[in-house]
C-alpha cells in the first residue's frame, strides 16, 4: 500500500512542479537555517568532558574582605593563599591549581623570532583529571610540582611551528629567560568550551565566544610557571591596587583557579564541609570578611557563566521562528494542493477508499516533500556551517555536521512536513464524495 501511495505522491508532485519546488524550498530553507544554528548550539552548549564532568567541581571562597554588597557571589577565582591552602590540603581525589599568563617563547635551535604565547601553570593532576590526550610523551609528576621542575608540555600547534611536528620530547624550550625540557606534546585536544579557563561570564554582556578558544600553547608546573614568568601575572580583579603589579602572590587580588575531582557523593559532602571550615577559619583569622563558599559542578559553573554567546541563542530563536513561518507556508500550500484534487479524492472515496486511506495517502505525499526538503536542508546546513566557519569567532573551526546532527536534519524535516501535512490531509479526507462527483 505504501509503495502505491508513494507512486501516487510522486505523480502528484510531478503534476505540479512549481508548487512542489516552492514547498520543498520552503522546508529546505527552514531546515537549513534551524540545523545550522542547532549544530552551533549543540557544539557550544555540549559537555566538554563527557562522562567525567559530573565529578569535576569548582570550589569558590570569598576572598574580598572589603565588599559590602550582600548577598553576593564569591569572586570567580581565588587569591594565591586560599588557592594554595586548599590545593595543598589534598582533600579531593584529584586537584589542579591554575594560573594564566602570557610568556615569551623561543626554541633555542630555531630561527623563528620570539613568540608571545598563553601559558597555563598548573599542577600534575590537571592532565589525568581532564583526560588530556597526548601525541608524544606525557604530563609531569607530582614530584616535578614539588621540585619546581623546569619541564613543560606544549600544544601540537606549537610543536608543528617550532619542531615541524616531530617528537620534541626531551628537547629544550626557552620560556622568558629560563630553559625548560619538553616532557609532552598535546594531541588533538580541543574542549568546547575551554572550560577550565571560564570565568567572569556574567560580566561579559553575553559576548562569550572567547570561551571557545584553543587550549594554551605552553603548560608548566604551577610553581615553575610562577617563578619563571614572575612579574607577568595579571589579576582577575583586586580590592586594592597591588603594590607590585604583575607580582601577585601577596597582592590583594584574585587570579588563581582551583579544580577538584570528587568521585562520590560522600566525598562531595566532605569537601563542602572542608571548604566551609576553611572559610570560617579564615574569617576568624580576619583574612575573609564573609565565609560564603560555592562548590559547583563543571556544568553548573558553565551554566552560571552563561557560556553560550547570546548572539548564538538569538540566532537559534530566529532560525526557529523562520522555520515556523516556513511551516505555516507549507500548510497553506498543501491545503491548496490537496483541496484542488477534491474531485479525484471524491472518486477514490466513492470507489471505496476509507477516510483513513485518503489521510494516509496525503501524509505520504507530505512526507515525501519532507524527505526532499531534508536533502535540500542538509545541503543548506553544510553551506550554513561553511559560512559559520568563515566567521571570525573562536569556535569557527569546530563547526561541522556530525552523524547525530545529520540524522536529526532528516528527522526534523520529515517531522515538520508531516506536521504541515496533517491538517490539510485531515481536510482532504473529509471531502464529501457525493458533492465532488456531482460536479465532475
Amino acid at each position: 500500500m505504501f509503495a502505491y501511495y508513494l507512486n501516487l505522491a510522486i505523480r502528484s508532485l510531478k503534476r505540479n512542479p512549481v508548487l512542489t519546488v516552492l514547498m520543498v524550498l520552503a522546508i529546505a530553507v527552514g531546515i537549513g537555517a534551524s540545523m545550522t544554528t542547532l549544530t552551533v548550539m549543540h557544539l557550544l552548549s555540549g559537555d566538554p568532558l563527557p562522562g567525567r564532568s559530573a565529578h569535576i567541581y569548582y570550589p569558590q571562597v570569598d576572598s574580598d574582605p572589603t565588599s559590602s554588597k550582600q548577598p553576593k557571589n564569591p569572586l570567580d577565582v581565588m587569591d594565591y593563599h586560599s588557592g594554595v591552602d586548599l590545593w595543598s590540603a589534598h582533600r579531593a581525589d584529584r586537584q589542579a591549581l591554575i594560573a594564566n599568563s602570557d610568556i615569551k617563547v623561543r626554541a633555542p635551535d630555531s630561527t623563528l623570532p620570539p613568540l608571545m604565547l598563553h601559558m597555563l601553570s598548573t599542577t600534575s593532576d590537571f592532565f589525568p583529571m581532564f583526560n588530556v590526550s597526548f601525541e608524544y610523551g606525557d604530563g609531569w609528576s607530582a614530584q616535578d610540582d614539588e621540585k619546581h621542575a623546569r619541564v613543560a608540555v606544549i600544544s601540537s600547534d606549537l610543536n608543528d611551528k617550532l619542531f615541524h611536528g616531530e617528537n620534541s620530547v626531551g628537547r629544550t624550550l626557552r620560556l622568558k629567560d629560563s630553559d625548560v625540557r619538553i616532557v609532552g606534546v598535546l594531541g588533538a585536544w580541543r574542549p568546547s568550551p575551554l572550560f577550565y579557563d571560564v570565568r567572569g561570564g556574567r560580566f561579559a554582556n553575553g559576548d562569550t565566544s572567547s570561551f571557545y578558544g584553543r587550549p594554551e600553547d605552553v603548560f608548566t608546573p604551577f610553581y615553575t610557571g610562577l617563578e619563571i614568568n614572575d612579574g607577568n601575572f595579571w589579576q582577575f580583579t583586586c580590592w586594592h591596587l597591588p603594590d607590585k603589579p604583575g607580582h601577585l602572590q601577596n597582592a590583594p587580588c584574585v587570579w588563581i583557579a582551583l579544580w577538584v575531582q570528587l568521585d562520590s557523593a560522600a566525598k562531595v559532602a566532605d569537601y563542602h564541609n572542608f571548604l566551609d571550615h576553611y572559610a570560617q577559619q579564615q574569617k576568624a583569622l580576619g583574612r575573609f570578611k564573609y565565609a560564603d563558599t560555592r562548590l559547583r559542578t563543571l556544568m553548573q559553573w558553565l551554566d552560571f557563566n552563561g557560556v553560550v554567546p547570546s548572539d548564538v541563542k538569538l540566532q537559534t530563536w530566529l532560525a526557529f521562528a523562520f522555520l515556523a513561518i516556513c511551516l505555516f507556508n507549507t500548510i497553506g500550500l498543501l491545503l491548496a494542493k490537496f483541496l484542488r484534487r477534491s474531485g479525484e479524492i471524491g472518486v477514490r472515496r466513492a470507489l471505496g477508499a476509507s477516510r483513513r486511506a485518503v489521510f494516509a495517502q496525503c501524509l505520504v505525499e507530505a512526507g515525501l516533500i519532507g524527505v526532499l526538503g531534508g536533502i535540500g536542508g542538509w545541503l543548506l546546513t553544510i553551506l550554513g556551517l561553511w559560512l559559520v566557519r568563515e566567521q571570525p569567532v573562536a569556535y569557527a573551526d569546530m563547526a561541522h555536521l556530525d552523524g547525530g546532527m545529520f540524522a536529526l536534519t532528516f528527522v526534523l524535516s520529515i517531522l515538520v512536513s508531516l506536521l504541515a501535512g496533517a491538517l490539510p490531509a485531515m481536510r482532504a479526507s473529509r471531502v464529501a464524495p457525493a458533492l465532488q462527483l456531482k460536479t465532475l
Binding site: 559576548d207 597591588p242 505555516f328 491548496a336 569567532v393
Partner: protein
C-alpha cells in the same frame, strides 16, 4: 467596494485565512524585532570614538622586562619618529578599539563608599591627548607639569580630563570641573571635559557606558611602555604603518611585536565590530528570506482561490462586474487578511520584544517600528496577490455559461 461579501467568503475559508494571517503575524513580529536589532547594531557600529581615527595607528610591543622599558621606548620612539610621514609618536596605555589596559571601578569619595562605575583610564604621555584629537569642551588640556612618573598600575594623583558622558553620570547637572574621583588610594581631579572618548571595547558595554573614560597624563615608565600611538596623514597611513613595523623590528629586535594588535584605528574598529557586522548581515538575510517565503505563501494560496472561484468570477462578470471589480475584490481580500495578521503580529512583536528585553537586555521596541512593519507587509501582500488577482480579472464572463 463592499467588504461584506469578502468577509462572508473568508468565513468559508477560515483555516486558510487563519494560516496566512498567522504567517503574516509571525513575519511581522520577526521583521519588527530583527529591524530593531539591525538598527541597534548599526548604531553601535557607528559609535562616535571622539578621536581622529583616520589619522591614527598603533604599534604594540611586548616581551621585555619593565626595567628595560625606558631603553625600549627610547629606541622604538626614535625609530618610529624617523619613519617618513609620521607626524607624532606618543605613548598611550589603552587604544580606542584596541588594547585595553586601564579598566577599573572608581568611587566618588575617598572612603570608597560611593561606587561610580567601571571606567577606562587612558593613561598617556605628553602629546597623546592632542594626537588623539579628542575635543575639549570645558576646562583645560594637560599641561607640561601634569605629566609625572609613576610606579603602580596608575598614577597616584593626577589632574584628568573626563568625558561628558561620564561626568553627567557621576555628577548629573553639576559642573564637573574641580570634582574628584578615587580608585582605591589613587586620586584624580577633573580639570577638563572631553566631548567624547570611546572605550577600547565598546561592544562589551551598555550603550550609555560606552564613553565612560578619562585621560590621565603621566610620564612613560614600567606601566606606560610599548604602546605607541602614531599620527600621520590619512592617505599616508597604510604605508607609514608598514614602514613603522619594519623600523621597530630593526630598532628593537629582542622584543616581540604584537602584530595582532598593531594596526590603524580604522582596521581596529573594523575588527571590533566584525561580529556585529556579521550579525546584521545575517539578520538582513533572514528578513529577505522571510519576506520571500511569506510572499510565496500568499501567491500559492491566492492562485488556489482564483482557480477554485473561476466559475463564481465568471458569474460575477456575466452579471456586470468589471475587471477592476474582480481585481479589487482580491486586493481587498488580501488587505483584510494581512491587516488581521498585522494586528496579531504587533501583539506578538511586543511579546517577543519583552522576552528579548528580559533575556538579552535589549531596550524596548520603539513604537515607530510597528507602522513600518505594517506598511512593508501590506505592500508585500498587495505585490504578491497582484499576479493571481490579474489572472482572476482576466477570467472571461463566458465561463459562467459553460458548466453550470
Amino acid at each position: 467596494m463592499q467588504i461584506q461579501p469578502i468577509l462572508a467568503a473568508l468565513r468559508k475559508h477560515r483555516l486558510a485565512t487563519l494560516l496566512i494571517a498567522l504567517e503574516i503575524a509571525l513575519a511581522c513580529a520577526v521583521l519588527c524585532n530583527a529591524c530593531f536589532m539591525i538598527a541597534s547594531r548599526l548604531s553601535m557600529m557607528h559609535v562616535d570614538s571622539g578621536v581622529d581615527e583616520g589619522a591614527l595607528a598603533t604599534v604594540q610591543l611586548t616581551g621585555y622586562e619593565p626595567a628595560k622599558a625606558a631603553d625600549v621606548d627610547a629606541r622604538a620612539v626614535a625609530a618610529l619618529r624617523a619613519v617618513p610621514g609620521v607626524q607624532s609618536v606618543t605613548l598611550l596605555n589603552s587604544i580606542p578599539f584596541g588594547m585595553r589596559r586601564g579598566t577599573a571601578g572608581i568611587t566618588t569619595d575617598a572612603a570608597g563608599q560611593h561606587f561610580g562605575g567601571v571606567i577606562e583610564f587612558y593613561v598617556g604621555g605628553a602629546g597623546s591627548l592632542r594626537a588623539l584629537g579628542a575635543q575639549l569642551i570645558a576646562g583645560r588640556a594637560p599641561q607640561a607639569d601634569d605629566f609625572h612618573p609613576f610606579t603602580g598600575l596608575l598614577p597616584g594623583d593626577a589632574p584628568i580630563q573626563i568625558t561628558q558622558a561620564l561626568a553627567e553620570h557621576l555628577w548629573p547637572g553639576a559642573n564637573p570641573l574641580g570634582k574628584q574621583i578615587w580608585l582605591d588610594k589613587s586620586h584624580f581631579r577633573v580639570v577638563g571635559v572631553l566631548k567624547t572618548l570611546v572605550r577600547p571595547d565598546p561592544p562589551g558595554w551598555p550603550t550609555e557606558q560606552r564613553a565612560w573614560a578619562v585621560f590621565v597624563p603621566a610620564q612613560p615608565g614600567p606601566f606606560l611602555t610599548g604602546s605607541y600611538l602614531l599620527r600621520a596623514n590619512p592617505q599616508d597611513l597604510p604605508r607609514v604603518m608598514r614602514d613603522a613595523l619594519a623600523a621597530v623590528t630593526k630598532a628593537v629586535p629582542d622584543v616581540v611585536i604584537d602584530r595582532e594588535d598593531s594596526h590603524t584605528l580604522i582596521e581596529l574598529r573594523q575588527k571590533t565590530f566584525q561580529n556585529d557586522r556579521a550579525m546584521a548581515g545575517l539578520l538582513i538575510g533572514v528578513i529577505v528570506a522571510l519576506l520571500g517565503v511569506t510572499a510565496l505563501g500568499i501567491v500559492g494560496l491566492a492562485s488556489f482561490w482564483v482557480a477554485q472561484r473561476r466559475k463564481q468570477i465568471g458569474v460575477r462578470r456575466a452579471l456586470g462586474a468589471t475587471r477592476g471589480d474582480i481585481l479589487r475584490y482580491f486586493q481587498t481580500e488580501n488587505f483584510l487578511i494581512v491587516s488581521f495578521g498585522i494586528v496579531l503580529g504587533m501583539v506578538l512583536a511586543y511579546t517577543i520584544n519583552l522576552l528579548l528585553m528580559t533575556h538579552y537586555e535589549l531596550p524596548r521596541l520603539p513604537f515607530f517600528y510597528l507602522p513600518i512593519g505594517a506598511l512593508v507587509l501590506w505592500g508585500l501582500g498587495q505585490l504578491a496577490v497582484l499576479g493571481p488577482a490579474l489572472r482572476a480579472a482576466a477570467v472571461p464572463p463566458v465561463v459562467a455559461t459553460r458548466t453550470v
